[in-house]
């Protein structure tokens, strides 16, 4: 992989930016200080995995937003809109509407009936070992795919900004930092890293949008006029003027869009790193408040993607972006154009912070699931042999997961298309996790065999369909880029058939208790004393 990396020539030689380097270091220093103080408080499982359940509604809202607005959103969507116009905005819409599924259906029952992980709710009335093993596998799959996408993004970004730093060094740097946050600071440090990042990202997007609109005298009419006449060089070398408000520039097949929409709207409610955030608040009411805070922030952010996405399309143009960093650098390049070197450095540092924060959130969800679900509950039958063992295992897992993600990201190299990894993560979450979460909360007859079947069929079908999709095959057996339209129904059918194949009266018996707990919050995990 070294050879393929060396053979790669950057589109344009980027300049070393000392301002950007300084801002990176400032963010890293601030977060390390937080980690140091959190480390003092992170003893015991509840403190380490759930920040003692003492995070407030707005803080958790910011952290949920921080966990969610990844590099794919900030850099990826801005670039997608800059190159494909309207269709890029479709991602933004799906990302917000997805939170209605979280708010209306999943957040509160989960908070009321669980402890640290998604599997807690599944294992509530089912046989815990098989269910937790399957849920842990799907959690690790989703988290690692998502994480690799972020790390590749980080490596590419840092290489653009600091040409002295190689892709490998950048990936290792990000990996080491996230392991430090998670191993020493636990959920509390991770939460605060998310909060700072969310505030930075929101303000950066806001300033960027204002500067874009200032170029158009703050007139939406002028702005839309420019967006409808974007000129760039077409494939045949001729100059093309295209209305960027036209749908269909990216998605040629309408089913592609619908399938992507399904993955986004139903996948978010199955993303383990989002779900575990609801255990950090004191009760279901606060969990609800935090979803609402997150929806306000996420909505505003994704509306702003049209300002800086279309802004990059009109003010810089796809031709300029193509030779200056490519799709993923649309937002930073726009910042350089509008606000000079300093603003460029700021936006890049924010993008870097975004990646670090998301990677830390993913690491903690993966290590919590491994330590709590797999190690303690599957291998050790739910007994902690020595006090603090569960947290110790989680720390070791965070280290292993970090190392694994570093190695995979380096092996894949900077040229890998990361969009399909994120798409895969959402599709797996929607097809494997969501059906079993819904059935275990709402279907009395649901049982262990159903959960294991649902998780396995959802996981296998989403990954299998991606492997035979246009992203991987020249003559794809499955025509769509995103498998959700087929794999979600398969996940549900798997869970349903699996349930019918076996009888488990104990599961139906405990359904009453789960329903009462989920709907009243009776006996839910409380915040720990200070």
């Amino acid at each position: 992989m070294m050879i393929s990396f060396l053979a790669q020539v950057a589109p344009a030689a980027p300049k070393q930016s000392n301002t950007a380097l300084f801002m990176f270091l400032a963010f890293v220093a601030a977060t390390l200080v937080i980690t140091y103080f959190s480390a003092k408080k992170s003893s015991g499982s509840s403190a380490y995995f759930a920040a003692g359940r003492r995070i407030t509604g707005w803080q958790n809202g910011l952290a949920v937003a921080g966990d969610y607005m990844s590099a794919a959103s900030f850099l990826g969507i801005a670039g997608m809109i800059a190159f494909n116009g309207y269709d890029g905005f479709m991602y933004s819409v799906g990302f917000l509407v997805a939170y209605l599924t979280v708010l209306l259906i999943v957040a509160e029952p989960l908070r009321n009936a669980g402890k640290y992980t998604m599997a807690d709710v599944l294992a509530y009335r089912l046989k815990p070992r098989p269910v937790r093993a399957a849920a842990s596998l799907s959690t690790l799959t989703v988290s690692i795919f998502y994480m690799i996408a972020q790390m590749v993004g980080a490596g590419t970004l840092v290489r653009q900004l600091l040409p002295g730093v190689s892709y490998e060094a950048a990936v290792i740097g990000v990996g080491v930092l996230m392991v430090v946050y998670v191993v020493f600071g636990g959920m509390l440090a991770t939460t605060w890293v998310q909060i700072i990042k969310a505030v930075l990202l929101m303000s950066a997007s806001f300033f960027l949008s204002i500067l874009v609109m200032a170029k158009f005298d703050f007139s939406i009419t002028n702005f839309m006029e420019a967006v409808s006449h974007v000129t760039f060089t077409g494939k045949d070398g001729a100059s093309v003027t295209q209305n960027f408000l036209t749908p269909g520039l990216l998605f040629k097949n309408p089913l592609d869009q619908i399938s992507l929409g399904l993955a986004l709207v139903f996948g978010t409610a199955g993303l383990p790193h989002i779900l575990i955030r609801f255990y950090t608040v004191p009760d279901a009411k606060t969990a609800r408040a935090s979803v609402v805070w997150a929806m306000i922030l996420i909505g505003l952010f994704y509306i702003m993607t049209t300002f800086f996405g279309f802004g990059a399309a009109t003010l810089l143009g796809p031709d300029y972006l193509k030779v200056n960093g490519g799709t993923n650098m649309a937002a930073p390049e726009l910042a350089r154009f509008l606000g000079g070197e300093w603003f460029f450095a700021f936006i890049s540092a924010v993008a870097f912070a975004t990646i670090l924060a998301v990677v830390a959130g993913l690491t903690i969800s993966a290590s919590t699931s491994f330590a709590h679900d797999f190690f303690t509950n599957v291998i050790h039958h739910g007994k902690e042999h020595r006090p603090g063992e569960e947290v110790r295992v989680a720390r070791i897992t965070a280290f292993v997961v970090g190392a694994l993600a570093i190695v995979i990201a380096i092996v894949l190299g900077p040229t890998v298309n990361v969009a399909f990894l994120v798409g895969l993560a959402f599709a797996v979450a929607a097809s494997a996790n969501l059906p079993v979460i819904l059935f275990s909360i709402f279907w009395k007859r649901f049982n262990t065999s159903g959960a294991v079947w649902g998780l396995s069929v959802g996981l296998a079908s989403s990954i299998g369909l991606i492997l035979i999709s246009p992203d991987f095959m020249k003559n794809p057996l499955f025509p769509l880029k995103n498998p959700a339209i087929l794999s979600i129904p398969l996940g549900f059918i798997g869970a349903w058939l699996g349930t019918l194949l076996s009888h488990e009266p104990e599961s139906a018996e405990k359904f009453t208790e789960l329903t009462v707990r989920a709907n009243t919050g009776l006996g839910a995990e409380k915040a720990t004393a200070h």
């Binding site: 917000l96 209605l100 749908p247 306000i296 739910g382 329903t515 709907n519």
Partner: protein, 138 residues
Amino acid sequence: MSPQPPGDLTPESAAPTDIAPLGRGPLKPEHEKTAGEDGTPVNWDEIAADADFKQLLAAKVTFIVPATVFFVIYYFALPFLVGYHPELMMKKVWGEMNWAYLFALSQFFMAWIVAAFYVVVAAGWDRKAAALLAKYKH
């Protein structure tokens, strides 16, 4: 598995499997107990059979099901219309602004409005749930 102190309702996710008994420490003094901790262990079936509980569940279903159906239809109308009826969506509404963009933008407001309704309605459920639990607090 160690026996739970009486009155401790900390969920045992899947019975004896769960560990890390935070919040399951020594019993609190009487005056520090919250509703959930006070009293004898719960008879879940009794609460589930309670008319007030059934009413609470029914109220939730009557809101959540239609709201979910509504937002799913509203959301998927967008990729459907944009994909299969692009000529309709490309019609200009105001200046260069077309239906496709306006409909996409309206999704954000739709999501916020549904969420706002939910918050208001759910506050009522919280009161009902609190009243219900108060009945079983002895």
